[in-house]
Amino acid sequence: MKIGVVTFPGTLDDRDAQRAVRLAGAEAVSLWHADTNLHNVDAVVLPGGFSFGDYLRCGAIAAQAPVMESIIDAANGGLPVLGICNGFQVLVESHLLPGGLIRNEHQHFICRDQKLIVENVDTAWTNGFKLDQEITIPLKNGEGGYIADTETLNRLEGEGLIAFRYSEVNPNGSVNNIAGLRNKRGNVVGLMPHPEHAVEPGFGPDTSVAMRSGIDGLTFFTSVINQLVNA
């Protein structure tokens, strides 16, 4: 099982995403932004960071990169794609997911352990969770406010395309507390928090059991492997 992890200039969490893929049991393949070849990967992760310096708009320039042409094509054909933070922004700019992401309401970058509710378990990346499960995933961003017009929001809510919702605290003013979305087909998922930072005991969020022991993020990666294996 091979999962591609894209690196744009300014991508920061690619090595962590690769580690998450390996810990879940698949082979991580590095995909360079300027290369249209996807090297036969079975799924793709668009990791977090500040691709192209967040210039113009977050993810806007990355969405035009050669590798994205191939990924958009493949996603339309059913390839599982996970967009994390900046990766979510790239998915939105690529129109693989609807809406927009803007500056946090309170104007500051915030790094916190965020509680989320998993609202949809019928996707490539969330089938390992239970519906309405509460998970803790690190959140760290300055432009994470999800925004969409009323028509889009109604459609998203109505069709059950909200994948994750912020629980307890809305850290960035996202409408309807939306933390992550899925597409209709269920192969593309995007979210602001960082599952790749909650995959290894000792380096994830604190839990009541022990410091830094949270690994709720690993399920994202085992889910996609599970789906691909059982496909």
Binding site: R57, A60, E93, P98, G145, I147, G173
Partner: protein
């Protein structure tokens, strides 16, 4: 410019700051972008049309922004 009905957090922050400074006459602030495309020779009508396309497709995100004006300046 950010779309009229969407929250503009940067604009809001500036508006609040102006209020604090005593400028109650300013009721709202919205912050957009000015992008300049530079050409080697004077842009033609065709160049202008292409620029409008570029503005709509790439320089702006139609979900959250409106292109207010594209024009040739000296």
């Amino acid at each position: 410019m950010p779309k009229a009905d969407l929250l503009d957090p940067a604009g809001k922050a500036v508006a609040n700051a102006l209020q604090r400074k005593g400028h109650s006459e300013v009721t709202n602030v919205r912050i957009g972008k000015r992008i300049e495309l530079h050409y080697a020779t004077t842009p033609t009508e065709a160049d202008l049309q292409t620029a409008k396309q570029i503005a709509a497709d790439f320089l702006s995100n139609g979900v959250i922004e409106d292109v207010v004006n594209v024009s040739v300046e000296n």
